[in-house]
Point group: C2
Chain length 336, copies 2
DNA sequence: ACGGCTAGCGCAAACGTTTTCGCAACCAGT
DNA sequence: ACTGGTTGCGAAAACGTTTGCGCTAGCCGT
């Protein structure tokens, strides 16, 4: 910037002012500065600016695994929305482990991100977010809420699970197994709650043995499903409460020589992008991934604008995608 | 840091020195400082550090669309590798448009990233990278090379395409259509070249009418495939030269009432994560996505360590995944 | 007793911006 | 001719680090 100022024959203040236009500068001077900028190929140093301004125009994203299509979509939406507002995003992967989460958040705190969008892990607990909070960062949780005093955007977990289970029951299933997510996450709890109300709606008993923990990922889910299938009175339908566990379940079913939906029904939380090409046409409840991302940055910016807002929780609706892995005719309308 | 220094009864220099341990400090002082750090909840401000040190320990990733599973995997690998080396990544989406690319790179240049990993777009051209280069950023291109004087990691495009086409020919196909990628990208050129050598290997003529541009994405590919199917003498096999175009092709085939592999054969560049669940079991050539990411950060760090290295190009092998969309028995060995 | 060495530490100048304060020049109104 | 307002600009102090330089105190060897 010094060079630019020298070349334009003005002071650095003036250069700064025309660049940000933060005070009136006659057209002629402005032009000279612009010329000098072009001539020197000057690129404003945003780290210096961040230091001075005490804001980085950066938002951190801390999620378990961007490889999970659900998070991929969310991240993509976040990035787009953030960019539209002049923010850039820094991505840290915290593979569902409390330690990684701590490391990642520390890095982000050091980098002085203005805001943080986080899918909190089970055991990180509310404490992990405190440091960022003290730094005045705007924090929004997605998918699950670990700290109720921070903003969050989640989906209608209970409702989605309930509808799926009710539908399976309506298809005549009386023993419906469930693959549950990581214990300790609010989404896991809510989906289990939905499963239970779904059963109740249908007048079916709740049997603890029909639950198996799949930890929201494929391999554990495969084992969990295998366990359910080995029961004395095995389920005739399975509810996998996220996408990865659906894959695990399918693998287990294949290993047991069971085909969907002929031998066993399957319904799942989370839709897949190219579901149409899948062999069993999965009946699912789809999350509005992009909307989650968009809502998250909206909340974040609002909080940045007014830090004294009360904590808000936005809960987005899910959408039932009725196909035929549930065993009913493809055209049949799902129960509401 | 001032507070920490005051609390510990030392100067800021000393605090800085114990934090980075950059000079000998007796254990006792060190402990006092550590105590003060803990007591104040101090988090080092890396933006100030970056300003002073003239390095950000940040690497930028500029790719078209992280929603594409191929890029998702690459990004994930990059993030992991970078984090292992103490770098954080900032992500900018440049949706295959020259303007977005320019914007994104400008943002990264302003943020003074130490390095950049970019999947260059067709028309951004070598120029887009120049500014970053002048800033001494280490640049590595992935998937395609737009600027031969920058490092790059790509895959054996020609070889992969060639093997797939040769295999289709060996299955008896004499008219093999190809869905080509975005014109202007090196990967597109190389895959077309592979297609041609594959044909030549098999003694088949090259017919320009069997090529249709699918722009590396689904909808254009659907239309392109539809065009090929409408030919007077339509292809009996299709080679889709990336994952998204495969989806487009499948849609076109479905619309024409064609099933794979009975009515028409299909082979594709890029594997899918859950190919096993897909209805046509796709014969594909898989890219080593994670290795691409890892190699990219390796090259990047090496260049950071020694900016005078000559430009390097690493070309990674691809892996043929033989299933049955190509129409031959599932167990049959693919031709080498 | 004195020079030299070392260990332990602090001062202050950067890094590249933003922003406050204030100066000079000009114009208008009396 | 003087006041008062406006316009156009520059000087310099921050922001929170890192780091070169140098100071002091103690110790050893002579």
């Amino acid at each position: 910037m010094r060079d630019v100022a020298a070349l334009a024959g003005v002071s650095v203040s003036t250069v700064s002012h025309v660049l940000n236009d933060t005070r009136a500068v006659p057209e002629e001077t402005r032009a000279r500065v612009a010329g000098a900028v072009a001539a020197t190929g000057y690129t404003p140093n945003s780290v210096a600016r961040s230091l001075k301004r005490a804001e980085t125009r950066t938002i951190g994203i801390a999620i378990g695994d961007i490889t999970n299509p659900h998070f991929t979509a969310v991240v993509d939406a976040i990035e787009a929305a953030a960019r539209a507002e002049g923010y850039t995003v820094v991505l840290v992967g915290i593979s569902e482990s409390a330690e990684r989460e701590r490391e990642g958040l520390t890095a982000l705190a050091g980098r002085r991100v203005d805001g943080l969008i986080v899918a909190p892990s089970a055991d990180g607990g509310p404490a992990a977010l405190e440091r960022l909070r003290r730094q005045q960062a705007a924090i929004v949780q997605i998918d699950r809420v670990a700290n109720p005093s921070c903003d969050a955007v989640v989906v209608a977990n209970e409702c989605g699970a309930r509808r799926l289970v009710r539908h399976l029951a309506a298809c005549g299933h009386r023993r419906i197994g469930m693959l549950t997510g990581l214990p300790g996450l609010s989404s896991t709890r809510e989906r289990i709650a939905g499963y239970r109300t779904g059963l109740r709606d249908a007048g079916l008993p709740y049997d603890e043995n029909l639950l198996a923990c799949g930890e929201y990922s494929a391999e554990p889910a495969r084992q969990a499903a295998a366990r359910l299938l080995a029961e004395a009175d095995p389920p005739t339908a399975l509810f996998a409460s996220n996408n990865l566990m659906t894959l695990g379940a399918l693998q287990a079913l294949a290993e047991h020589g069971l085909t969907v939906p002929d031998d066993i029904a399957l319904a799942a939380f989370d839709d897949f992008a190219w579901s149409d090409l899948f062999k069993p046409h999965l009946t699912t409840v789809a999350q509005p991934c992009r909307e989650i991302g968009q809502a998250a940055v909206r909340l974040l910016l609002e909080r940045l604008a007014d830090p004294d807002l009360p904590p808000r929780l936005v809960r987005l609706p899910v959408e039932l995608r009725h196909r035929n892995s549930c065993g009913c005719a493809a055209g049949a309308p799902p129960i509401a």
